[in-house]
Symmetry: C2
Subunit: 152 residues, 2 copies
């Protein structure tokens, strides 16, 4: 656990597992969405954040903070979402540079349909593989790898 230039075998193994498993899970979920004729995971992430905050919406830079997507990525993703009528861009009164992004009814509907597929993937790939205690253990351990570390 001490800082080293060369990681311990245990650290390497944990890292390798994390890389491989996350890639596999993402690929599976992405594939399930595609099979359902639904948009990719990235769209879900944004729609989810927007659905959670409701009518107030979010500024693009807030979405960047929450989703970890790059600025140019969000900019273009929002353009696509808007083109599909899933979100709307509103000017913001006290800052002429900015805009507020709000999810539309169609956006909520799409998010719901995505969740029915995405949620099933989560249930199958994670929920069905570990007990509740084990899931909590995973969350806690991964929480310590997060930046900033999670307390729980």
């Amino acid at each position: 656990m001490t800082e080293q230039a060369t990681p311990s075998p245990e650290a390497i193994k944990a890292w390798a597992r994390l890389m491989r498993v996350s890639r596999q899970l993402i690929e599976h979920a992405e594939e399930a969405l595609k099979e359902g004729g639904l948009p990719p995971l990235a769209w879900y992430d944004v729609l989810h954040e927007l659905a959670e905050v409701g009518e107030g919406g979010l500024r693009p830079f807030q979405l960047i903070e929450r989703t970890l997507f790059a600025q140019y990525n969000i900019s273009r993703l929002l353009a696509r979402l808007e083109a599909d009528g899933l979100v709307e861009k509103l000017p913001v009164a006290d800052d002429g540079r900015g805009q507020t992004i709000r999810i539309t009814a169609k956006g909520r509907d799409t998010r719901r349909r995505m969740w029915s597929v995405y949620g099933r993937s989560i249930a199958e790939l994670v929920g069905a593989k570990l007990s509740v205690d084990q899931l909590n253990m995973v969350s806690a351990l991964l929480g310590r790898l997060r930046h900033p570390p999670a307390s729980d």
Copy 2:
């Protein structure tokens, strides 16, 4: 732990942590490599596999199995690696379609230099955050999420 269409809150949280943490770690490692003027992680994955098997080399389809990259992705990645002189493509005697990919001396050197940066990231981001027992716990839990599940 029973199969459900809607995942438990614990499963959702574990999934969310996994997605976020893996993204963050990859981003950090990728950034460190870039700052060192080194190629991206994907190159390391391939060079690592090739370095491990030695002079015998690997067929592209074997790299696909090991790295989980898509076929077209490997095909083009190998073209770039070859263009940089990091690997060489050899015809394979008993299968006229195929080729064997072998890492070159320059490839080994690049891999080593990448590891000096990549390894440090692993040590800092994972090794320094959890005890050996915790690292083993992470590996074991994630191993059960893998497909096929790992035994250890």
